[in-house]
Amino acid sequence: MPLYHNDDQAMLKDSVAPFVAEQAPVAHLRKLRDEADATGFSRDLWAQFTEMGLPGMLVPEAHGGLGMGHMEAGIVLEEIGRNLTPSPFLSTSVGAVAALAKAGGTQAGRWLPAIASGEAIVALAIDEGAKHRPDRIATTATRAGNGFRLDGKKSFVLHGHVADMSIVAAKTDGGITLFAVPKDAKGLTADPRRLVDSSLASHVALDGVEVDADAVIGEVDAGGEILDALLAATRTGVAAEMVGVGQGAMDRTVTYLKERKQFGKLIGEFQGLQHRAAHLYGEMEVARATVMKAQQLLDEGSEGAKLMVSVAKAKAGRAANLAVREGVQMHGGIGMTDEYDIGLYMKRDRALAEYMGDVHYHIDQVARMNGY
């Protein structure tokens, strides 16, 4: 498959890009922020997403979804990134769907149709500390009665306080097991914190949460592969969103270079800035290609996908970070003001950079996957 969007994907982009730009531009984020919105996203906007079938893009057709791939989901995420749109799309429609579809069984049958119909918001309760270390899960699931008892603490759980269900990774006797924990489970509490980018992420406590045996996603002790599928999909999704953030920041900055005058010239005439902008352009193009390659390999079910996913998260992380840093610097003083959007891009980039493993984590993963 060539590494560019085919006609169907281009059509999808042509419908999603103007939709997100009109319905959820940066002003939409500002409104939610200024009203101290407690949900973390607009349910009206989610209803509009649902009308377009977006929440169920990755849900298999048998479960009421569109059965599309990561390349298509990436198109939506890039626009979400470009417009800094607060949305549960990444957790619910990408990460959770990847896990549930991989696992199949009862939980897939219960939640996938509800995600596709826009009724269910799902959170991913994976991280436990300030840094992403999914191979060091301390949360435990012990057999109790007909099911399991969950104990532990989770952090950086996006939409955790409003999710209808949380996917919880826990240690079981013989490995890792994933659980679908409904929001009304006794002993489950979510403490939402406002982050630098105005999003809400929860510290989730599991104090003797009792779940039935059929809450297991997939099989007991066999959650490792499902977690891998969840991580690969979510990381690729964040990377796509970061390409959108970086592109949005770069486009605003290049426009500004063509408007702002100093020393009697447009500042875009200065070679010192031209070269930095051109360098940034190259980095963004490489990041975009890399993310597309990861999406393509995931969609093909290729063995090389895991490596490329880490490469994509790392590369998109570097490129988007450069875009927002150069963006603020090239905007000069007004780049430091709340009034200008460029600072909001810097904030969102920082939050996404950390989510599901930062640049350093993924560079390390690339070294390990290459045997050093």
Binding site: P2, L3, Y4, V254, L257, K258, K265, L266, G268, E269, Q271, Q274, H275, A277, A278, H279, Y281, G282, E283, E285, V286, A287, R288, A289, T290, M292, K293, L307, M308, S310, V311, A312, A314, K315, R318, H362, I363, D364, V366, A367, R368, N370, G371, Y372
Partner: protein, 393 residues
């Protein structure tokens, strides 16, 4: 089975039957690379046999039309052929500035007669070409070139000199930018083709910091060039030159992908050693190598996307400048790490163990990557102007 699957199967079978085992070994030195031409001496029978097999199938230039020595493959088929050749580690049957640079220019600007004549020679590896672009006073500011062709009715008399002419001393013919109108800077250059054995042509290799001399100074003293031997229009050679530069930049950018080296950290694991956790026993170098590997894997994806788009007319016409900039900077970084990974062994200049100082010489050679074919700074200027549309650029 789709048509492309059938094609892949056919390619596999053909390669299996026609690519000699010796041609599936990694390239070890310059002699392993086949450049063809009138003076070419094949290193061994396998090199000759592989070239001839590819020539007969049109696989030296698979995407060129059959009438000009190619195989007439579509972009998808060409990609499959390259993938399958890579899979069996097949060497390139023929490296050639004719294929990479002059060919694309002739395909776009040449007459039918020129295409049949020159492209077929290039495809067969019969004529080795060199490029006469830079002059002592015209490097980055190429359009200021002064080599002059005086109009003598049915021919020009060319005087002047070129510099950095790659392998001019080994080439049979030259494609050369010659000023034919001193009053008109951009529209006063003609893209000429002539034989390096013409009377008045001399070459002088330049000793470089690598200790090698791949580049020459080339002098023209009253060289007579028939007025049929030009591409495009007289005085409009700059259009051809710019188009060709796009292909040259695309070619040079390929070095960024790193050829056979899958992962730099993996390649040095043995030399540097590992700790008990299986990590390179030099944590800071490991981190730099891993960060570099990320950029290489990323660049390979970029290369794939760029070629997919370039071959189907989807790429921005100036995007080869971006590829050249990113790819050459990456290759320079690679060889800094190769030297760091090799330690004092990599410093050896002529020992047998160092294969004649291969690492040190290659490291030094790569410093030219971001100068030749347009400097990194010129690439950034072009991106700023033509892609980002920045003012006054």
């Amino acid at each position: 089975m789709s048509d492309l699957d059938a094609f892949r199967a056919e390619v596999c079978a053909w390669l299996e039957a026609n690519c000699p085992p010796e041609m599936r070994e990694p390239v070890r030195d310059e002699g392993d690379v086949c450049w063809g031409g009138r003076k070419w001496v094949f290193k061994n029978d396998a090199q000759k046999q592989w070239l001839e097999a590819c020539v007969s199938k049109g696989y030296t230039v698979p995407d060129w039309p059959k009438a000009y020595g190619g195989a007439g493959l579509s972009p998808e088929e060409t990609k499959i052929l390259k993938q399958e050749m890579k899979r069996i580690n097949a060497r390139s049957p023929l490296d050639s500035f004719g294929i990479w640079m002059l060919g694309p220019a002739l395909l776009k600007f040449g007459t039918e007669e020129q295409k049949v004549h020159y492209l077929t020679q290039i495809a067969r590896g019969e004529i080795r070409w060199c490029q006469g672009y830079s002059e002592p006073g015209s490097g980055s500011d190429l359009v200021s070139l002064q080599t002059f062709g005086e109009d003598k009715g049915d021919h020009w008399v060319v005087n002047g000199s070129k510099i950095w002419t790659s392998y001019a001393d080994k080439a049979d013919w030259i494609f050369c930018l010659v000023r034919t109108d001193k009053a008109n800077k951009y529209q006063g250059i003609t893209f000429m083709l002539f034989d390096m054995e013409s009377k008045g042509v001399t070459t002088k290799p330049i000793l470089l910091i690598s200790g090698n001399s791949p580049f020459c100074e080339t002098f023209f003293d009253d060289v007579a060039v028939p007025k049929t031997q030009f591409v495009g229009e007289i005085n409009r050679g700059w259009d051809v030159a710019k188009y060709l530069l796009g292909h040259e930049r695309e070619m040079i950018s390929g070095g960024g992908a790193g050829g056979d080296m899958v992962s730099i950290g993996g390649a040095f694991a043995k030399a540097i050693g590992k700790n008990d956790h299986g990590e390179l026993d030099d944590p800071i170098l490991r981190a730099e190598m891993a960060a570099f590997d990320v950029d290489v894997f990323a660049y390979r994806a970029m290369g794939e996307r760029f070629m997919d788009m370039w071959k189907t007319g989807r790429a921005h016409p100036a995007s080869s400048n971006m590829m050249k900039y990113v790819g050459t900077e990456l290759n320079k970084r690679r060889h800094e790490l190769v030297m760091a990974g090799g330690g004092s062994d990599a410093l050896e200049w002529d020992s047998e163990e160092s294969k004649g100082g291969a690492r040190a010489r290659t490291w030094l050679r790569t410093k030219a990557n971001s100068i030749e074919g347009g400097t990194s700074e010129v690439m950034l200027n072009v991106i700023a102007k033509r892609i980002l549309d920045l003012p006054g650029a």
